[in-house]
Amino acid sequence: MKLRKVIKGIIAVSVLATGMSVAPVLAADITITMAAPDWPPTRFMKEHFDKSYTSPAGHTTTLDMDFIPWPSFYERVAASLTSGEQKYQMIVTDSQWLGAFVEGGYYMNLTDKIAADPELTAILQDLHPALVSAYSTYPHKTRAQLEEIGEVPAPGVAYYGFPQFPDTYVTFYRQDIFCHEGEMAAFQNKYGTNLPCSYEDWQDTDWTKWGQVGEFFRRAKGDLLAGVALDDDFYGIAYQAGKGYDFSTMQTNAFIWQQGGDIWDESKMPTAQAEGVVNSDVAVKAFDEYLSYLQYMPPVSQTGQMDIFVIQDLFMQGKVGAIIDWVGLGEPVLDPSASKVHDKSAFGPAPGSRKNDGSIDRTGNIGGQPFVLTTWNEDEVVDEALNVVKWWLNSETQLEAVSNGGQSGLMSVMADPSYNGLRPWNRAHVEMIDWQKDVWHIPEFFELLTQQQEEFDKAITGQISAKEALDAVAEFQQELLEEGDYIE
């Protein structure tokens, strides 16, 4: 009996020892190649990863960022994916691309992974619902639809991405001229209302005042601006009005939504129509208002080339009083080596449409990017990529990122008492994020976008009216969406 017991004991110990030596995941060298736009939020991620990331699984993990310039980012990522080279394990993607690349079989459905991992579930629950809606769901679910379901993750909803950099547009303005006593008095005298100087003033700024600011600060060479004679022409305002990519759609959508109009709503497929909605009277009126302020903007607005980078540059060169641009482009404005207004700039929420009750609707089109995983990775790479997601979205990393010009989509981080003080635009970002909606996510989004941008560009350059532009957009969308069975 004793011998038997001893043998059993030896076997048990051996099995246990064998089991123990097999159970932990073997440490491996893992390289995660990530396609990323070349700008500060992704550069910081790489720097911070190299400094601080430790794999919880014990792997030696390298984050190999393929930094791609913004203008060719979509084409480069699309070419890589469709060529089948399987280069990337993770991709920083615009939310609009989800449909095209999910349907193409390139982006990984993370729903089951999130459901099985309490840490990922907690992150999803902590993310702002506007970001979950825009960055993660496909087929697209609106924030209202997700909130109606209540549960996170919502049953029946497929999730794909987590925020790498959640972006909103805010107002960048020159405090030295907007808070100049003489200018403030002259503005008050001319329009019977105050020139927005403080953050609170910008909270009360609607599009009408935005136009007044544009008219007021339009000065010619030799005129005085805040008591100083100008050596060049000066312009009051600027916002995006470019033909490329989405460089007018993002701003026009805000006007249309704020005034009660709509774009084709993919969340109401297949009953949602394009004709009659896209070119409704409300939408035409809103687009007309958008066009009406272009007269106060720098002359590049007449060429249809006033994109988000051009307005940033005009502001940094001291040619414009106030611009509406993405938070992600704020950091260079404060850089003394690049910006003439680095010590004069302040930030506020973007203007909106005043409602009958006096409140201001600031609904806007969300910017920024989620990151996604690709479908061809081995399990251990997927697990490690998700570890990278968890590392990036933990509050410590997020606060560090925000301190370095990034933004957070985590509500707990945004609620941190130090958050608003970390960067000068943070307060405006937190205020604006609640107003965000997104444009389409279906695979045909680029065709919809390109045609719309062309028609908007014709209106921006004065070739056609707002109504003609929206009629052409509505007709094109109706036909394309009917052909694709998105509209019954």
Partner: protein
């Protein structure tokens, strides 16, 4: 000794037989050509008969000539062909005029001629992207040099790219700036090949300058001019980079050439089969133009002989 005297036998001997050596030597080049050019061409030609989208997992189905029909009846395609034709004709004419005048100038000897000639040839050696970026910055109405200079006279900002006509002109100027030196080189080659004694004889006969040009100079350069026209037409027909960078096809779509539209269809809209069909239509046009070009080259050779 025995080793060196050993004759090859079997497959090695068969392969290295002098009869096959030529084929063996060209085989790598043919293989690369087939893999890199012929196979993709055949593949994309095949794709043009399906409804394949590179971004979709749907199994493509055979559609016959549907894509060709769709492309040829698409108003937007014809608009782009018209735009291309306007840009090609304007640009080639401008290149011919400027190139010809420059060739006349450089046919004469003057101080620093070689250095000036070298400088004039520089644009041709730049990349399309650089030229596009240069001109986009030149035309920028707030900071750009064109607006800056004109502002001295008009006291207003000059917005060249704000209208369809201005934008086309902007592209044509950039393309002509880049490629007029090429036309100049061709014409200059013709000019220097004219025997000097013919001019001396014309001078003795007191022929007018126009008469001298028309009866002596022009016959020597006309086939080269035709070459320049055809070569530049083929190249400008495919114009992409400069348009994409300077105007992105705008305002609206008024400067969008067929090459830019083809790019959008293939790589932004991912209508792979439809874009293949359009690419073959463009290829057909280019082949026709190339044949004209080869015909002109042959005539030139006959004339030289």
């Amino acid at each position: 000794m025995a080793n060196t005297a050993k004759t090859r036998s079997g497959f090695g001997a068969w392969l290295l037989d002098p009869k096959r050596r030529g084929a063996l030597l060209v085989a790598p080049a043919i293989t690369i050509l087939f893999v890199m050019n012929i196979f993709p061409l055949m593949w994309s030609f095949g794709l043009s008969f399906f409804n394949y989208k590179a971004s979709s997992l749907k199994v493509p189905t055979f559609k016959g000539f549907d894509n060709y029909g769709k492309v040829l009846t698409d108003e937007r395609v014809w608009e782009r062909f018209q735009t291309t034709a306007i840009i090609v004709s304007s640009s080639v004419i401008m290149q011919l005029i400027i190139g010809f005048l420059m060739a006349m100038m450089f046919a004469k000897v003057f101080p620093l001629r070689r250095i000036v000639l070298m400088l004039v040839l520089t644009p041709m050696m730049l990349s399309f992207v650089s030229v596009g970026v240069f001109f986009k910055l030149f035309y920028e109405p707030t900071f750009g040099i064109v607006s800056f200079v004109l502002n001295f006279f008009t006291e207003e900002r000059f917005v060249l790219l704000g209208s369809p006509e201005g934008a086309i002109l902007g592209i044509v100027i950039a393309d002509a700036w880049m490629w007029s030196p090429f036309v100049m080189l061709l014409v200059l080659a013709g000019l220097v090949s004219v025997p000097k004694y013919l001019y001396e004889a014309a001078e003795i006969d007191r022929a007018s300058k126009w008469r001298t040009f028309w009866t002596i100079t022009f016959p020597y350069i006309k086939s080269l001019l035709l070459l320049a026209v055809l070569f530049r037409t083929i190249e400008t027909f495919k114009l992409f980079d400069v348009v994409y960078i300077i105007t992105d096809g705008g305002p609206g779509s008024t400067t969008e050439t067929i090459a830019v539209y083809l790019y959008r269809t293939a790589f932004q809209f991912f209508k792979t089969s439809q874009s293949s069909a359009l690419a073959y239509i463009v290829l057909f046009i280019v082949i026709v133009l190339t044949n004209l070009y080869l015909y002109a080259v042959n005539r030139r050779e006959e004339e030289v002989e």
